[in-house]
Amino acid sequence: MSVAKKNQKPHFDKQGDRTDEERVEAAMQTFIQDFGATAALYMESCVSCGMCAEACQFYVTTDDPKYTPIYKIKPFKQAYKRHIGPFAPIYRVLNLTPKVDIKELEDWQELLYDSCTMCGRCSTICPMGIDIADLIKQARHGMYKAGLMPERMDLMGRTTKLWGSPATPIEDFAEILEEDIQDVYGEPLVIDKEKADILVTLAPAELGDHTKAVADIAKILNHIGADWTFRSDGFEASNIGYINGDIELQEKLTMQLVDTAIKIGAKTLILPECGHAYSALRWEASRWYGKPLPFRVIHMTEFLAEVLNEGKIKVKKIDATASFHDPCQLVRRGGVVEPPRDIVKALGYDLIEMEDSGNFGWCCGGGGGVISNTRANPLRFKVFEMKKEQFEETGAEHFLTSCGQCRITLTGGAKKFNWDKKIESLLELVADNMIEDDASSEDSKETTKENTKEEA
């Protein structure tokens, strides 16, 4: 082995000090316990046609066949055949499918975490209809249990377990909102109100890069005179557990929001401009609550479209062209296709769709934790170049989206390639262009100020 190879950094990270056998055992046990009939159907139906490769941004931008989506779950397909499938005893006795070993799991870490955003585009091309993104999510559960995940993502998980959020300790939440957002932007925030109709939640980006978004949602809610609040005990919506594959953490973060919403009597919980937050709470919360939630869960984009469509707020028209980047978890995986387009239309933009848009839009390349996993940057930037090219083909003046993670990913890409295009948030655009000078809005602002004083 050459010196260069010896000194080469391993392409995987490890957590804990378990033996290799223990890691493999943990991954396989989790995978087996996690496995249901639908996932089995998917495993059984694959015909190895490889068409999913053409739908994956990581394959298309690298031409490397290892990025073929269904290949990313190969060890788990192997484990399924050997331990769970209809003919598992035969496979075991005749050793037709070998045992999954530690090397395979280590090698597959990159494929499961660095080169998959769980965007689900591959599922739209699969002739068998296999939901590969869902299988990747299940495979991540096993990898998490084995302590075989990217260190940066695990760090976020550990921070969240310690603080209750990857962004800030929950004890500091109210202070951060008051000092770093309310005082800076001048918009009154309602924090820790005991009872409220609307519980507003946030993603880590909004306590970091996108603090204006926090003031903006407050501005809109105050304007319409809503009975709303942020809560220290229930604000963290991004759900790093969902992304990492840590089911216990996913449950904890989910129930934190559910319990808080129930405690304050909320009728609606508004999720931030974050795609994975929507997937985790809107489509998975009831797995732990056990029945449909007793309140509505809506994404910020749905909320904005609602208040605009119902005429609760009015916005100034912007005479310009724009193209919209579809956040995968919101659009393809969440079914929220029209609301962002309603908002873009209400803002007066002439919307020019990218060649592949809506259900078939390309991922930004940073979802599923890839943006936090810095070692995946080179791959992510390749995806960005493709996205940039698609946007430029539209000739649009503005580049809009409605997911903070997509925005950070695209903004990071723009910075890397010195692209002078600002990635704009629908929430911020609505707030910036909201017409505030009507009588009703003044009344409602007064009410909100009183509410805030009462709480203080």
Binding site: F35, G36, A37, T38, A40, L41, Y42, E44, S45, C46, V47, S48, C49, G50, M51, A53, E54, A55, Y59, P65, K66, T68, I70, Y71, I84, G85, P86, F87, S123, T124, I125, C126, P127, M128, G129, I130, D131, R282, W283, E284, A285, S286, R287, G290, K291, P292, L293, V331, R332, R333, G334, G335, V336, V337, E355, D356, G358, N359, F360
Partner: protein, 221 residues
């Protein structure tokens, strides 16, 4: 003609038994796994009826790729249709096959003239050869392929080539060729429930399951 008798009798009966028992077991074993409950509120206006409709829509909507993928997946899709339709036509619409099935089950139906079937057989055989060449040459398919993928191809190709040889009386006596042809079908039947050929039945369920999941969310199927 002992070999032909064996092929038509013991071998075929055994193959059919393995086929049906294997088929039933494969479905049963999947159904034994837990059906995960997720009682999330569906998208407004989506109920049981809408999901049932989505199941069928999902099956048919995936029969042709969306325009975003058409160029990249053109060969796989078109060639896939050629050999799937070809296999159907040759197996179910060839006069001697219809008679054979009638002897076995009592059911029969109209069949196509032999020249059309011969033409379809040649096209299907060429299409299957193209499938193999593509699998060996395409880096993605080559990486994904396991021994099972090649074996599934082999057991599908064998009845085609032996059928053509039988019809053409090529290489041996007709009875011997017919026996080999029937044995190749037996091999196909025996392997069918164990490998990926099961997608012929499973696609209905995997497409349907995803369609229902997406409909629940109000997403495009």
């Amino acid at each position: 003609m002992e070999l032909l008798q064996f092929a038509r009798g013991t071998a075929l009966n055994f193959a059919l038994l393995v086929f049906f028992v294997g088929l039933a077991w494969r479905f049963f074993a999947i159904a034994l796994l837990p059906f995960k409950k997720n009682p999330t509120q569906p998208r407004d206006g989506v109920g049981t009826k809408e999901k049932a409709v989505a199941w069928f829509q999902g099956i048919f909507m995936r029969m042709w790729p969306h325009k975003s993928f058409r160029k990249a997946s053109f060969f796989t899709f078109v060639n896939g249709y050629v050999f799937h339709i070809g296999l159907f036509v040759v197996f179910f619409l060839f006069g001697p096959h219809v008679s054979f099935i009638k002897d076995l089950t009592g059911f029969s139906w109209a069949y196509l003239p032999s020249p059309i079937i011969h033409f379809a057989s040649v096209i299907t055989t060429l299409s299957l050869i193209a499938v193999l060449v593509y699998r060996l040459r395409n880096p993605v398919q080559r990486l994904l392929s396991t021994a099972e993928d090649y074996f599934a191809w082999f057991v599908t190709f064998l009845p085609m080539i032996t059928g053509l040889m039988t019809v053409g009386h090529f290489g041996a006596r007709y009875e011997t060729l017919l026996a080999i042809h029937i044995l190749s079908i037996c091999l196909l039947l025996v392997w069918f429930p164990f490998g990926k050929l099961m997608h012929a039945f499973l696609f209905v369920f995997s497409r349907g399951a995803t369609a229902v999941r997406m409909k629940h969310r109000g997403a495009q199927l």
